[in-house]
């Protein structure tokens, strides 16, 4: 017998495993394993990224538009962005428990500093003339924010959301590896003990597929909703 047989499963074995995990319900629980894992992971990932995006929008616009807020918050953001998020994971588990909150918080903390800095930078690079121009058309500060700054910041937020998908998956899988009841990362690290490459391989392919589809979808959304971005430059 070839020693590699155990490590590298044959295609037939993998096909069997995929059929079992992705298309047949567990007779005991009535659940399809892959679907349970996928929905648990996607819930955490999208909640984390969603919260991060919402907070980024708020903080990014404030930091970008108000010099006072920028002076106060920029150093804080710089320091926070230096904290290695994975090193925070034990602290999050201890303080927030082993449930969903700690995993989602890890994603939020992990991706937010980059997103905030990117968005604030985008707001800052808007030509001063645009703001003055809006004021001469009668715009209040609030109107400048919602009619001039926000619409030009949103496409950048979508791009930055897309670019943070990679790090977000990383934080998610790291958190799931340590503690979870379901999830794509949890499953991979669970079956690792049995060297079950027939499970790990399809899961990695599936995660990659999900990430690619999300990235593509976000790109399409941005192009559809903000056609003028492609025209400039």
């Amino acid at each position: 017998m070839n020693a590699n047989d155990k490590l590298l499963p044959s295609l037939a074995t993998m096909a069997d495993t995929v059929a079992r995990m992705a298309f047949s319900a567990d007779p005991r629980t009535g659940e399809v394993q892959l679907w349970v894992d996928t929905s648990a992971s996607l819930f955490r990932l999208l909640t984390g990224l969603g919260i991060a995006a919402a907070l980024t929008l708020l903080i990014g616009l404030v930091v970008g538009m108000l010099p006072v807020a920028r002076a106060a918050l920029a150093p804080v953001i710089d320091v926070v962005s230096m904290v290695p998020p994975l090193a925070l994971l034990p602290i999050l588990f201890i303080t927030l428990g082993l449930g969903e909150v700690s995993k989602i918080t890890l994603i939020v903390i992990g991706v937010m500093p980059v997103m905030v800095r990117d968005l604030a930078g985008r707001v800052l690079e808007l030509p001063r003339e645009q703001i003055v121009k809006a004021q001469t058309l009668g715009a209040s500060s609030w109107q400048v924010a919602i009619r001039v700054v926000l619409p030009q910041a949103l496409p950048r937020l979508i791009t930055s959301f897309r670019l943070q998908l990679g790090p977000a998956w990383l934080f998610l899988i790291a958190a799931e590896a340590i503690s979870a009841e379901a999830g794509l990362g949890y499953r991979i690290f669970l079956v690792r003990r049995f060297l079950a490459m027939d499970v790990i391989f399809p899961y990695v392919v599936w995660i990659t597929f999900l990430a690619v589809v999300m990235s593509w979808g976000l790109e399409r959304l941005r192009a559809r909703a903000f056609p003028w971005v492609e025209l400039g430059q």
Partner: protein
């Protein structure tokens, strides 16, 4: 004699210890078209930004209609810059309607329903007036430089400002396109209740358009004195024959043709 629309009383502008402009006193009559020329760096843009309310004079004061100027840019003073005057994320129609949107909807900055349709009709008329009919749905990046400046003019005029401030609005355009812009500018000035202050590098442009030409100049320009003396109003010329708002003279070029 009509009272002046803008009065500039002994205005100085300093940045740190650098004096940029000094001893500026002049008044601008309503409905006049004033061109402002001078060498690069002499403070023309700075002067315009003071009229705009974006910068405050270090000394002296500026009165609009006899009252001190609002210390912030506002809808009574429109502006067109050389670049970045229009919003890249709005269509031609959206850019021109913006002033009406902002005025009519303080909270959401956007009109809906019948009020939106009325605003769009006004905007479309002005878009046609500047020669952009048919381009309402385009974004600025899809327009040539000249078309963008036409758009910027329409956008600035929709709120009916008393004063229109122009900072080298045609400076980045090809000479061929500039002639068309001059014609448009003249027409708008004659037909609209508007006082124009235009900064330009081009002396012939100043005399083609304006009824009065101001020259800013730094009288002492040696390196050692550069910081201690600012530019002054060196010349103030009335254009001859007089150009009077609302009384267009047929353009010379069309007679020759």
């Amino acid at each position: 004699m009509t009272p002046p629309l803008i009065q500039i009383e002994n205005v100085w502008k300093e940045f740190g210890d650098q004096i940029v402009l000094e001893r500026l006193s002049l008044s601008i009559a309503p409905r006049s078209f004033v061109a402002l020329v001078g060498p690069s760096g002499c403070g023309k843009t700075t002067f315009l930004r003071m009229l705009l309310g974006e910068e405050a004079p270090t000394k002296g004061r500026i009165l609009l209609d006899g009252k001190p100027l609002q210390p912030e840019p506002g809808p009574d003073r429109g502006v067109v810059f050389q670049r970045y005057s229009v919003f890249p994320h709005l269509t031609v129609l959206g850019n021109v309607m913006l002033g009406l949107d902002l005025k009519g909807a303080p909270r959401i900055g956007r009109l809906f329903g019948a009020r939106r349709r009325a605003a769009a009709d006004l905007a479309r008329a002005l878009i046609a007036e500047v020669g952009l009919a048919g381009d309402e749905g385009k974004y600025p990046a899809q327009l040539s430089g000249g078309m963008q400046q036409r758009l910027a003019l329409a956008q600035a005029l929709i709120t009916r400002p008393r004063v229109l401030l122009l900072d080298e609005p045609f400076g980045a355009l090809d000479p061929g396109i500039r002639a068309g812009m001059h014609e448009l500018m003249q027409r708008l000035w004659h037909e609209t209740d508007l006082t124009v202050v235009m900064v330009t590098h081009d002396l012939s442009e100043a005399f083609t358009l304006a009824c009065r030409v101001l020259v800013f100049e730094r009288l002492r320009d040696r390196a050692a004195e550069k910081h201690r003396y600012g530019a002054v109003l060196a010349q103030d010329m009335a254009v001859w024959p007089p150009r009077i708002a609302g009384q267009p003279t047929p353009p010379k070029r069309s007679q020759a043709a």
